[in-house]
């Protein structure tokens, strides 16, 4: 079943065309890695998927609901799409537990006790059950990012967007975050990741999408794509990053 459907999407910032007609379908349970140089439009595409940016033209459908300006409230959107940011964006004034519980309680109006149970489960899943009462500032970057993943999961989204989630981390902390994502993928979570971790894209993704100058330049199975790039741009990109 197709969960996310992107059809001929354009987006410009002023005179700068950032997305020049994107077509992308993501099936339930699929893991899609989006790669490409900075400025190729990959983060913008991701941000269009949850309306942090509003696309100019084209269609985006998520779980068969069309996404236009104001067609879905943030609340409805959050039931479908979760997001993890490069800079974590944890709420610094709330404990780890409260970070996870806040939205289900406030947005969904779920009972605090039930939510706390869910919070402990998702924190356990990311390996941080013992940090329930810690504040974000007391955690390492890798731990903070795992909390951010748990926070997104507590909303039980149908698809999780990950925007360069390891780019702000020290190299030794990247692994712990990627392992969490790998476990989620194995459970059948639908993931769309913008990433610079080529090894991860190759090993975990079902499909890799290479963006170049606002277009999807090449896409395919990771093994095939990395070993047999068809376009010179992808060849050059791969040789530059590997």
């Amino acid at each position: 079943m197709t969960l996310v459907c992107v059809n001929n999407v354009h987006k410009a910032f002023g005179d700068l065309q950032v997305l020049k007609g994107i077509d992308l379908n993501v099936a339930q349970g699929e893991v899609v890695a989006i790669i490409g140089r900075s400025g190729s439009g990959k983060s913008t595409l991701l941000r269009c998927l949850n309306q942090l940016e509003q696309h100019d033209s084209g269609e985006i459908t998520i779980a068969e609901q069309q996404l236009d300006a104001g067609s879905m409230s943030p609340k409805e959107l959050s039931e479908n799409v979760g997001m993890v940011f490069q800079s974590f964006n944890l709420f610094p004034h709330k404990t780890v537990g409260d970070n996870v519980c806040l939205a289900p309680v406030v947005v969904r109006g779920e009972a605090r006790a039930d939510v706390e149970k869910v919070a402990r489960e998702v924190l356990d899943k990311v390996g941080l059950a013992d940090k329930y009462d810690a504040y974000p500032a007391q955690l390492s970057g890798g731990q903070q990012q795992r909390v951010a993943i748990a926070r997104a999961l507590a909303m039980r989204p149908k698809v999780l967007l990950c925007d360069e989630v390891t780019s702000a981390l020290d190299p030794e902390l990247v692994g712990e975050v990627l392992r969490v994502l790998e476990a989620l993928a194995a459970e059948g979570m639908t993931l769309i990741l913008v990433t610079h971790e080529m090894g991860f894209a190759r090993d975990v993704a079902d499909r890799v999408v290479f963006m170049h100058q606002g277009r999807i330049h090449e896409e395919g199975e990771p093994a095939e794509l990395f070993s047999n790039p068809k376009t010179p741009e992808l060849k050059q990109f791969i040789s530059a990053v590997l």
Binding site: P74, E79, F85, N89, H93, L102, A103, V107, A137, A148
Partner: protein, 218 residues
């Protein structure tokens, strides 16, 4: 001429200092109240409310406090409703304080990282939920040190009320000087009194600022 001992001078200044404190409290409490209203007006999505508040802030920050004081004091009289120096000073200082606090608080709200809005948004929170649970608590924490710091400016600002005849610390100083002709002693003492009022607040503000910094919030 009556002889003034040092103790007489100190005692009289102490008595006058009460009015400096009272006027400061009025200005601060009044200014905070008006400032809070202004801050929310500033946050409103109505264009004219935003314009009004930024004009208000610019006017009070771009003109001398002394002129604000004169305009209210003499303005009220010119309109046929003379008011006492008490009222004029209270009103002028309240308005002056509100403009600066509004500006400080708006800065604190804007200082909360953009990513916090995004994070709340993708978790499904609407504007008010985000404000209430994510932005305001953080802005409040950020706002305490500069607000305490500004209270020092309010106390110093009350000295200008002396010019329209309100008897507080500075006015008492000039009056005592006229009676004793010991200007050096008197103005040293007046300065010391202000210092004793302001310096602890300055230190406290700095301490709070450092605490925020150490907590990684600034």
């Amino acid at each position: 001429m009556i002889e003034f001992t040092l103790w007489d001078i100190v005692r009289n200044l102490l008595l006058a200092a009460r009015w400096t404190v009272v006027l400061s409290l009025i200005a601060f409490v009044g200014g905070a109240t008006v400032g809070l209203v202004l801050t929310f007006m500033r946050l409103s999505s109505r264009r004219w409310l935003q314009r009004f508040t930024s004009l208000y802030v610019d006017l009070f920050q771009g003109t001398p406090l002394l002129m604000q004081l004169f305009l209210i004091f003499f303005g009220a009289a010119a309109m046929g409703h003379p008011i006492s120096a008490w009222w004029a000073a209270s009103i002028a200082l309240t308005l002056f304080t509100s403009a600066f606090l509004c500006d400080i608080w708006r800065g604190c709200l804007e200082a909360v990282a953009k990513g916090q809005w995004h994070a709340a948004r993708v978790l499904g929170m609407n504007y008010f939920q985000t404000m209430r649970h994510v932005i305001l608590p953080q802005a409040l924490q950020l706002s305490i040190p500069p607000t305490v710091g500004f209270s020092v400016q309010v106390i110093k600002g009350t000295a200008l009320a002396s010019i329209i005849g309100f008897v507080e610390l500075t006015k008492a100083g000039t009056m005592l000087n006229n009676a004793t002709f010991e200007p050096f002693t008197i103005f040293t003492l007046v300065a010391l009194f202000y210092f004793a009022l302001c310096y602890p607040l300055s230190c406290y503000a700095r301490h709070l600022e450092k605490k925020l910094y150490d907590a990684g919030l600034r």
